[in-house]
């Protein structure tokens, strides 16, 4: 079954605005990660948050994790045209050898 579900599926905002994407998952996790995928390219790791952490920052990115609700959010502040991409949350539920379980992604479009 699908582990991660991103919401919304698509988001279009004006440059300079903040973008918020949400992710829900079903089972207990080791950590949760967010990735960006530009069209025709591979995934780029953005941020990792462990199950015992509640919030993490990296530059213009802020990730929160609520394990009681099995949900996470990714906030991109002061968006730029270059932020246009698909964003995926991924969960690690067991050991690292199990690989990541990805959600369906949010397609973010930043209008100049």
């Amino acid at each position: 079954s699908q582990q991660g579900e991103e919401d919304p599926q698509a988001l279009s905002i004006q440059e300079g605005e903040n973008a918020t994407m949400n992710c829900s998952y079903k089972t207990s996790i080791n950590n949760l990660q967010w990735y960006r995928q530009n069209s025709g390219r591979g995934l780029v790791h953005l941020i990792l948050i462990r199950s015992n952490e509640r919030e993490k920052h990296s530059g213009r990115l802020r990730v929160t994790l609520d394990t009681s609700k099995k949900s996470s959010s990714l906030l991109i502040t002061a968006s730029r045209a270059a932020d246009t991409a698909s964003y995926f949350c991924a969960t690690l539920t067991g050991g690292g050898a199990d690989g990541l379980t990805f959600g369906k992604g949010t397609h973010l479009i930043i209008q100049p």
């Binding site: 080791n30 950590n31 990660q33 990735y35 995928q37 025709g40 390219r41 591979g42 995934l43 780029v44 790791h45 990792l48 698909s86 995926f88 991924a90 690690l92 050991g95 690292g96 050898a97 199990d98 690989g99 990541l100 379980t101 990805f102 369906k104 992604g105």
Partner: protein
């Protein structure tokens, strides 16, 4: 320097053929993976390989087989290709026994005619 590289980038072939996709990482990572991304952009783990231990996603047909000649390489062999195999295949690697971030290649777009 490319961290995770896959070849070829595009692969167009006919049903029934056998093909291989190569993957190499120069990051010194100990775990490598193959993922499949379908036309709706959904990514699914196919295999992971760590210190000669292979973990296979039970949904992957046995026509797919990974082969690792050494720690830096994990190639994907596909026998008897079917229309449903059309997808983008990504190789990835990670250190810390897979508990850390994963580094992805740019993908191989496989199209079955």
């Amino acid at each position: 320097d490319t961290a995770v590289s896959q070849t070829p980038k595009y692969l167009v072939t006919q049903m029934g053929n056998d093909k291989s996709i190569k993957c190499e990482q120069n990051l010194g990572h100990d775990t490598m993976y193959w993922y499949k991304q379908d036309s709706k952009k959904f990514l699914k783990i196919m295999f992971s390989y760590n210190n000669k231990e292979l973990i296979i996603n039970e949904t992957v047909p046995n026509r797919f087989s990974p082969k690792s000649p050494d720690k830096a390489h994990l190639n994907l062999h596909i026998n008897s290709l079917e229309l449903g195999d059309s997808a983008v295949y990504f190789c990835a690697s990670s250190q810390v026994a897979g508990l850390g971030p994963q580094h992805f290649g740019d993908g191989t777009r496989l199209s079955i005619l």
